[in-house]
């Protein structure tokens, strides 16, 4: 047992009932995060990455619910927490940042008031003391002259500034874990780069663990120590960022990297993965990726486990690709 382990997820399954039967958006996910760790979760839309984040936060909307598995946070089993217990944890020990900062902020309340409220919800503290914490958090995410900004309303901020306010709010109660779901997807590359740097520095300075969910491997590569690739509700490959990007082993990861325009010479056809995501309510029996996989054999009719191929690299595939895949640069 690792003493620094902060979050541990075992066999997590989150289902949504549909007329065609239950649909497992998260289908047997195991994850572990230590303090100060940055984990990137990559997947396409419908892969279950967002529902995984929501499940960890106890935020899955009815009628969806966690039907199996265990979530242990800082040594405590939180799987069956009541809403009241979750409220003590959320925004306090764990915080979440969403893609669209506009919907995370109250449009008719001043920024400062919202942020002070976030502190006072969890701590018995004077407004003056709370204001001081808010000021410090704003400076930490690169918002200068915080006193002026605290009196402003969300609509007076640009998209990038709003996301900074949301990040500052997440930091207020010094959480042990932040889950960020596509936090920079709606932003320009220049602003995205600024926020990536700020988050990278914050995690280094404060030892906060971070789960960064994104569809963009390039973004995740900039910030995460480890990467998990999700496909149809399962983790199909997981490993130390550098090692995994250098030698992706699951055909899906290889295909994903090959279809990034930056990895193919200009004007040439991109290697695309044929077909689309399978119906989650009607998954193929074995490997979910097999119907789109050019390497699929009969052996793929049995669901493979996530097996370690090296100390820092695990793959869910019966015949993982060991070569450097198609991620060739330049030549």
């Amino acid at each position: 047992m690792n003493p620094t382990k902060l979050l541990s997820i075992q066999g997590l399954r989150t289902e949504f009932p549909t007329p065609d039967g239950p649909l497992a958006a998260v289908n047997g996910v195991n994850l572990e995060i230590a303090r100060g760790d940055v984990l990137g979760i990559v997947g396409e839309s419908g892969s279950g990455k967002t529902v995984l984040g929501l499940s960890i936060m106890g935020l899955v909307d009815q009628p969806g619910r966690v039907t199996a598995g265990r979530i242990t946070f800082d040594g405590t089993d939180v799987t069956n927490y009541s809403e009241a217990q979750w409220q003590g944890l959320r925004g306090n020990k764990v915080a979440m940042i969403f893609q669209d900062p506009t919907t995370s902020l109250n449009p008719v309340q001043r920024i400062g008031a919202q942020m002070i409220e976030a502190i006072q919800a969890h701590r018995d503290i004077s407004s003056d003391a709370a204001r001081q914490i808010v000021r410090e958090a704003m400076v930490r995410v690169g918002i200068n002259s915080p006193d002026e900004r605290l009196e402003a309303y969300p609509h007076q901020f640009s998209g990038g500034m709003r996301q900074r306010v949301v990040i500052a709010t997440a930091l207020l109660n010094a959480p042990d874990l932040i889950i960020a779901d596509e936090p920079t997807t709606a932003l320009d590359v220049t602003v995205q780069a600024q926020i990536l740097r700020d988050m990278r520095r914050l995690c280094r300075d404060t030892g906060t663990a971070l789960i960064w969910i994104s569809h963009d491997l390039g973004v995740v590569a900039q910030i995460a120590h480890r990467v998990a690739v999700m496909y149809a509700g399962r983790i199909v490959e997981q490993g130390a960022t550098e090692e995994m990007l250098k030698s992706p082993s699951h055909p899906y990861t290889v295909g994903l990297m090959a279809s990034m325009p930056a990895n193919t010479p200009r004007g040439q056809r991109l290697a695309s993965i044929p077909g689309g995501l399978p119906q989650l309510s009607n998954l193929p029996k074995g490997c979910s990726f097999a119907p789109r996989c050019t390497h699929a054999t009969e052996a793929c009719e049995i669901l493979p486990d996530l097996c370690f191929t090296s100390a820092n690299h695990a793959v869910r595939c019966v015949s993982p690709l060991h070569e450097r895949g198609q991620h060739a640069t330049g030549d």
Binding site: V189, L196, M260, P261, G276
Partner: protein, 331 residues
């Protein structure tokens, strides 16, 4: 190569209505402030036959407005928009036969298609209305149009909601091509698609260019996508083009400090993001652009005269034009 599209000092402004506060201020003798946003400010641009011209820039820089001007679905205030040497028809006024030669494909295919219109009708409506085909030919015509974008005949009688995002974008492409355009304006046409689907659509664009000798204006915030498809790339900042060059030249030797910063902030798999911000702050409000060179407040190499003197887009190398006072002319 003949030029299919030529823009000569094109302007387009949007007015902001005076609100109550302005009226009161004016009534009390305050100088009335002009609320005019110059979205496209003195732009010269050409697109050659069979060429893909990429257009990049941050949100709010005017790239979508420029795309709409080229497509003729937004009238320009002054200057000339020429299609094959003749003034572009104003599609907002003329109803029949106007500017079929330039078509546009938008970001969100779900919004671009009528949810209650069958695919066969969506594709054949325009060619029938413009007398390109007879109603009796519609069925066969639609099958051929769908085949061009990789969809089968069984799509004809279905409705948009029965397709995935990537398939819907294929339908939009089929519809745009149904009137035999020479130029297609793609405004963030692959932005809402997953990486593997995005690769399929980019391949389709490249194939169609070769088979139909199409020209594209390819607008995207995603530089790696633009880099992949474009022959030449134009960089826009606050309504103006600041640099335009052949794609490889622009990416390998960007001359404008804004282009340099923009390119360095693109997250990639093989190089980590630098520790320092390449660009401070965000795009200034286009309602009150900075004096002189519009980039000077964020420019790392700004000189004193940049505050007052507006640079012109001037050739620096073959086919490479830059609008910057600090970048020296090559002998």
């Amino acid at each position: 190569m003949p030029q299919v599209i030529e823009l000569k000092s094109v302007h387009r402004s949007f007015g902001k209505k005076t609100d109550l506060a302005d009226r009161i201020a004016t009534a009390f003798g305050a100088k009335s402030t002009a609320h005019v946003l110059k979205a496209v400010d003195d732009v010269d641009l050409t697109i050659e036959q069979g060429e893909v011209l990429g257009l990049v820039g941050e949100s709010g820089c005017g790239k979508s407005t420029l795309g709409r001007l080229v497509a003729g679905i937004l009238p320009h205030d002054s200057g000339d928009v020429l299609f094959n040497g003749k003034p572009m028809a104003d599609k907002t006024k003329e109803k029949t036969g106007a500017g079929l030669g330039v078509q546009m494909i938008f970001q969100n295919p779900a919004a671009a298609l009528d949810p209650r219109q069958r695919i066969v009708d969506a594709i054949t409506e325009a060619p029938i209305a413009h007398g390109l085909i007879q109603r009796s030919e519609a069925h066969a015509f639609a099958i051929e149009a769908l085949g061009r974008v990789g969809l089968r005949e069984d799509a004809l009688d279905r409705y948009p909601h029965q397709f995935s995002g990537g398939q819907r974008q294929r339908i939009c492409i089929a519809r745009a091509l149904a009137v035999n355009p020479e130029v297609v304006v793609c405004d963030e046409s692959v932005a809402s698609l997953d990486v593997s689907i995005q690769a399929q659509i980019i391949n389709l664009f490249l194939d169609l260019r070769d088979s139909l000798n199409l020209s594209y204006l390819f607008i995207s915030h995603d530089i790696s996508v633009v880099e992949h498809v474009s022959d030449r790339i134009a960089v826009m900042y606050l309504g103006q083009i600041v640099e335009i060059a052949p794609a490889s030249d622009l990416l390998e030797n960007p001359l404008h400090p804004y282009t340099q910063a923009l390119l360095s902030e693109v997250p990639t798999l093989d190089k980590p993001l630098s520790e320092e911000h390449a660009l401070e702050g965000e795009l200034p409000s286009p309602l009150s652009p900075p004096s002189g060179c519009r980039f000077h407040p964020r420019c790392p190499i700004a000189m004193e005269e940049c505050r007052s003197l507006a640079p012109q887009l001037e050739p620096r190398r073959t086919g490479h034009r830059v609008s910057c006072l600090a970048v020296g002319k090559e002998p």
